[in-house]
Symmetry: D3
Subunit: 158 residues, 6 copies
Amino acid sequence: MGELSHIDKNGRPRMVDVGEKADTKRIAVAKGSIFMKPETLRRIKEGTMDKGDVLSVAQTAGIMAAKNTSSAIPMCHNIMITGIEMDFIMDEENSAVHIEACASTVGKTGIEMESLHAVAVAALTIYDMCKAIDRGMRITDIRLVKKSGGKSGDYLGG
Amino acid sequence: MGELSHIDKNGRPRMVDVGEKADTKRIAVAKGSIFMKPETLRRIKEGTMDKGDVLSVAQTAGIMAAKNTSSAIPMCHNIMITGIEMDFIMDEENSAVHIEACASTVGKTGIEMESLHAVAVAALTIYDMCKAIDRGMRITDIRLVKKSGGKSGDYLGG
Amino acid sequence: MGELSHIDKNGRPRMVDVGEKADTKRIAVAKGSIFMKPETLRRIKEGTMDKGDVLSVAQTAGIMAAKNTSSAIPMCHNIMITGIEMDFIMDEENSAVHIEACASTVGKTGIEMESLHAVAVAALTIYDMCKAIDRGMRITDIRLVKKSGGKSGDYLGG
Amino acid sequence: MGELSHIDKNGRPRMVDVGEKADTKRIAVAKGSIFMKPETLRRIKEGTMDKGDVLSVAQTAGIMAAKNTSSAIPMCHNIMITGIEMDFIMDEENSAVHIEACASTVGKTGIEMESLHAVAVAALTIYDMCKAIDRGMRITDIRLVKKSGGKSGDYLGG
Amino acid sequence: MGELSHIDKNGRPRMVDVGEKADTKRIAVAKGSIFMKPETLRRIKEGTMDKGDVLSVAQTAGIMAAKNTSSAIPMCHNIMITGIEMDFIMDEENSAVHIEACASTVGKTGIEMESLHAVAVAALTIYDMCKAIDRGMRITDIRLVKKSGGKSGDYLGG
Amino acid sequence: MGELSHIDKNGRPRMVDVGEKADTKRIAVAKGSIFMKPETLRRIKEGTMDKGDVLSVAQTAGIMAAKNTSSAIPMCHNIMITGIEMDFIMDEENSAVHIEACASTVGKTGIEMESLHAVAVAALTIYDMCKAIDRGMRITDIRLVKKSGGKSGDYLGG
């Protein structure tokens, strides 16, 4: 197992130097879910079908969060994101919305945190917009499901 | 069940007017967890006991995120936070860190999103600082556990 | 005619002191338009009627911009916005989208700049999302149409 | 006519992938105007000739806005701006200030939105600093007048 | 001597609760200096007398920094600033620019950090704008010189 | 002596064009100090040795400030920082904490301002966290001590 690369020799935080790394195409896919009452999901869905669109706001928030990741996560490098796509699946059986973000960059580091941050903020936005009718929603299983590019090689999670 | 208050009459988003609401003391407690390999938890713990302190950075990030909530969550009001405390429990049995944030305000609205945002960003910070040794961490069960103050009354979650 | 209140006695900028002003309910309505090719308007409209929704993103951007006004406009006070609503009218006759923002606060100053900023950023967002098919769009007639509350009294523009 | 590139296949927003695009030198020039009372223009002008300088603050605000464009415009890529210049023309005949911004980058996308955003925020800053004496100012004709570099080729507007 | 109020009982950071404090009028004055070559000071001065105005940009930057203080300083409360004034003295004898910021608020906490932050960022802006001709400038003696309002009473420094 | 490169031909600010500059590896080291009462230093030190860690928060704040430099300093380019390390020396003889930041980038411009900004904000954070017991702290001697890379060549200060 490697070192905890963000901790310097005095045990205090640093932002690790990636200056020697080559620029490569990098892609990361993250997922997460928000569980809610069936009634809440129904209302989101009707909104989507009509004109109201909780998921459109959540998607916009997630994309903006991805771009803001290095301001929110202290030791995370600022990078230039080349693209982000998000997808939402309304799961009536489990009364949940499943969220997926796929972000890409061409650079020396990244792009896991950007995808994970997009998913987290999209989920929080759904919570915010529906909390008046359902305070018991749970945001869960935010994880990296796929990563390609970079020195550490590809990763495939669950 | 009430209305989805963030959706206006055309089905498009709005920030609901809270101008008529009274200023009250409001407190919200949110929790969440990040599951990891036992080795990762051990390393965080040793860092804490020694000098390195992943959790101190995560706590700082969470507190800063709370203050930045209205910039990240589109329909969330900007409010003046009067205090935030965070707590981290290292759970060896389940190989997880449990995160709690308690934020307070005196105002017309809030403060659930600030506490939830603090927990989410603290968890993402732990992920970021440990991802070099453990890409399979999962952030889970982010939820509101308690809220007091405001017109909608108190809430007690699980 | 009064003084240019943002210029101090040395001719350099300052943020004027509003500490002695009373807290009052304040509302400001701003409007603006973006002119485009008929084809562009048709595409926005179809997007809206289907599922794609340029205006939903523009509305989200406008609301977020309103909250960020004091960071963008140097001498503008940071205030707590109590509510924002935006409206978009698709005008086929003139091949334009007309944008309106109504923001409110309870405070010592504001809230004209927040409404104007919301309109400007919503218009820029429409430009950004449609520029691949129409670089000649024009953003025009951003102005204050109504203001109530505050010491300077009500204002009614055109 | 091409596709509305920011709308994904489900009709929801995305940030288009520019990872395959080559790095090229890109320049964009945007213009806009703010119309006001002759008295207001005279006061700005005297300020400039003396020491007070509304336009210096507006110019600073415009340049800072250009750098912040990807945080304000949801689907806009974050890019590294290599330079920005702004110019202001005081037009007594029409009682207006005409604003021009010229921003450049070396990259895969941009830089129209940065120039347009600089013009819009500079105009809003003038409004903010003069609104105590003239609430009827109008910000108008914000448009792209020139763009060079990038795959879509050069553009020359009016 | 009191407690280090930002450190919680586990030795980790928190944002102290000010919810029980009364709203009072608060003023804080901070000062600092930047020392430079005589030639650099001469150039700044000529710029000011002509049209170029390093100090106008520095003043704008300082005021914007004051408003952004709670985003930059982790445990600092976000407050509503009611006014800020800055002053610059060009000291030829010591070849320095002396900077003063006076910020005010009506609230439960603050406003020392806002004034100190304004001074620091104004000094850094002067450094940035002159570094092409003078890399050896020193920013020094940033300190609180006066504070009034609040429970801890008035403070008068040197 | 060269030109004040941030002032344009009309004497107003601009962000200088670095588009023609080559990408080179750049490193800048900045230092600064904060002087305080012996008691304050002792408390910080005990906090560090125990569990509380003012310096860990200050270090996190400094690193985040480095990444945010182009938002705070008006004419400063936004660049991609490849790494930052900070170091703190507790100097009992002089009752001070000495702060050092070393930031690096691979790019066309930078990285002095990022290192200087990190030092300044770290010092302000120490002030903020200890001000309850010591309002008389002084932040001093913020300066560039070393720079390498870039067309202007290496610099070695004191």
